[in-house]
């Protein structure tokens, strides 16, 4: 089409390089996509509330008030009390800390481990690459929740084991992201030049591949953080989460579910909390992806 040759169109964006452009892109994303800024605002509020839980929480999350067992929302207990008379609002705030910590730790380590695996596989190539990626595909095909269930059940429910289980399920996508550009970079001439200058091969790979995939990894990270928080809550709901009485959102829903007929708010408040956090992360990831991959652009 003739319009394609329109010389007045803005020049295509230069290839992404480094952090400065990434930040510029992210800012542009949030300007263009109001929804993703809503996501950022919600998520930041949740993080701040979680960090300040000890200051804000009106009650000790473990303090039992026998007199207010299963009471509905009141002036003193904003979201009511659970079956031990504990303040649901305070437990919700403390639960946010656990959920966010597990999610961030699991996805953070999955990012690092996954990228390292992808870099290594792409760099080595051949059979090593084939075997590693085949293993990643099997891992990816397996339902994350089932895998998480089995691993946590085997290792025993603890914060550390939850992080391991969730992280394991999130490794394959990061490995895939890192592998593709590694293969491309490996073939380029400058790698030879860098080698001649005495740089180690792996160091060359890391330095040249990482800036290329950083933006993509961040998008993937925000979307998988949403998944991680959902999986953590699901495992806690099944009874394979952090042990009670530590407050977790999934655990609170589980406890509330026993009294679902009489006191539904016990489950509904933490349920909405999870929904809100996961939704905000998805909004952020969605907005970021629009900027990085114009093909899927939604606005």
């Amino acid at each position: 089409m003739t319009v394609a040759a329109d010389p007045g169109a803005p020049p295509p964006l230069p290839a992404k390089t480094g952090r400065a452009l990434l930040i510029a892109q992210a800012l542009k994303a949030f300007r263009a996509n109001r929804l993703s800024s809503v996501g950022v605002v919600i998520f930041v509020i949740v993080v701040v509330l979680a960090l300040l839980a000890p200051v804000i929480a009106p009650h000790d999350p473990l303090e039992q008030n026998i007199l207010s067992r299963l009471d509905g929302p009141s002036a003193e207990f904003w979201m009511g009390n659970d079956s031990y008379g504990r303040d649901i609002f305070s437990r919700l705030l403390y639960g946010a800390r656990i959920s966010l910590f597990i999610g961030v730790a699991a996805i953070g380590s999955a990012m690092i481990i996954g990228s390292a695996i992808g870099l290594y596989a792409g760099y080595r190539g051949g059979r090593v690459d084939a075997v590693i990626m085949q293993a990643m595909d099997v891992l990816l095909a397996f339902p994350a929740l089932i895998l998480g269930l089995v691993i946590v059940a085997m290792l025993g429910p603890s914060i550390q084991n939850l992080i391991i289980a969730i992280s394991l399920t999130a490794i394959p996508p990061f490995a895939r992201i890192a592998r593709a550009p590694t293969i491309v970079v490996k073939e380029r001439d400058f790698v030879e030049a860098c080698r001649a200058l005495g740089f180690g091969d792996l160091r060359i790979m890391v330095l040249h591949v990482l800036p290329n995939i950083l933006s993509e990894i961040l998008v993937m990270g925000s979307l998988w953080l949403a998944t991680a928080i959902r999986v953590e809550a699901s495992l806690s709901f099944i009874g394979l989460g952090v042990k009670p009485p530590t407050p977790t959102w999934g655990g609170m829903i589980r406890e509330g579910f026993e009294n679902i007929l009489d006191t539904p708010w016990l489950s509904v408040f933490p349920g909405l909390a999870i929904l809100l956090v996961v939704f905000s992360l998805n909004l952020i990831g969605d907005g970021l992806r629009d900027v990085i991959d114009p093909k899927t652009r939604t606005d």
Partner: protein, 313 residues
């Protein structure tokens, strides 16, 4: 085509073996004695030893491994360590429930998601599009158990339209449907959210293709351009996403089965995990792996139905 299926299944064997080995190893390296777990803390040492003997837990590991593989291949998956019933039989009992649920959610997801995605794409950047986009993002943000609880609260408890416990007689079609409705709506709507999003973006891509302009230049009516020329091309990525989503669906069905108290593989695996029922767990993991292999195969075969460029050779 048949040769392709046979070859695909043959190449899936190493994956199956890998999963089985992994399960075998995982089950045995974990702390805790299954015999102890089964009999409880109060059991005597003699009783535990006797049970270990009976379960074959005292034999060397490699012997257990060979035994495990052998019986798995011959279809003898042993008996549940807890109930004593054959594993295969227990699985066969609940499998139809899970298949009902999965198929119903898949159909619901496609029936709701595809038209919604097309509609949203056609009204790009209009109010309808924004509402659909936010709605679908919200839908896929729902942890399945949270949405299940909300549905249960609204439709079973307040409105009293559906049973609270969805474990009913499957042979009575009306009861079967009644028990299936809420769980299927729960999973189906989450699935619809995924399908809507991918259909929308795929449709937008396709609508920019040259062959759509060709179809317009022929003077075809809008509906045949959308539903014949565009949609068939747009469905190709949808199939990919449905295939990937089935993994999530299987996970979500576990949560759904718990909330609605519906029999199925999910409830079986949660029970087996809680009671360290190793034989049951092994059987379930093999079944899950098998299901995933079949799903991947079906996904690839579906491409062939939609896209004539796909060759099975």
């Amino acid at each position: 085509m048949l040769a392709y299926v046979a070859r695909r299944l043959f190449f899936a064997l190493p994956t199956l073996l890998a999963v089985m080995t992994l399960v075998f190893v995982l089950v045995r390296i974990v702390p805790g004695d299954p015999a102890q777990t089964i009999l409880g803390d109060q059991a005597s040492q003699e009783a535990i030893m006797a049970l270990r003997e009976r379960l074959g837990l005292n034999r060397p590991l490699w012997e257990q491994y060979v035994d495990f593989l052998q019986s798995a291949i011959t279809g003898d998956w042993g008996a549940s360590m807890v109930t004593g019933q054959p594993v295969l039989g227990e699985i066969a009992n609940v499998l139809p429930y899970t298949i009902d649920l999965t198929v119903a959610s898949l159909i619901l997801g496609a029936v709701v998601g595809i038209p919604l995605g097309v509609w949203s794409a056609l009204h790009r950047n209009r109010l309808i599009d924004y509402v659909t986009r936010i709605g679908s993002l919200l839908g896929l943000s729902f942890p399945a158990f949270v949405s299940a609880i909300l549905l249960l609260l609204i439709f079973s408890i307040y409105l009293n339209w559906f049973p609270v416990i969805s474990a009913g007689d499957r042979s009575d079609p009306l009861e079967r449907l009644e028990n299936l409705a809420l769980p299927a709506i729960n999973l189906g709507l989450i699935m619809a959210a995924y399908i809507t999003r991918v259909t929308r973006s795929s449709m937008l891509n396709v609508l920019g293709e040259d062959y759509i302009r060709t179809a317009q230049a022929k003077g075809l009516p809008h509906r045949s351009i959308i539903w014949i020329h565009a949609l068939r091309n747009a469905l190709i990525p949808v199939v990919t996403v449905v295939g990937l989503y089935l993994g999530i669906l299987i996970g979500n069905s576990v949560l759904t089965e718990i909330v609605f108290n519906r029999p199925g593989l999910g409830k079986l695996i949660v029970g087996a995990l809680g009671q360290r029922d190793y034989t049951m767990l092994q059987g379930l993991m093999v079944i899950y792996t098998f299901i995933i292999i079949i799903v991947n195969l079906l996904t690839d075969l579906t491409y062939g139905l939609i896209d004539p460029r796909v060759k099975y050779s």
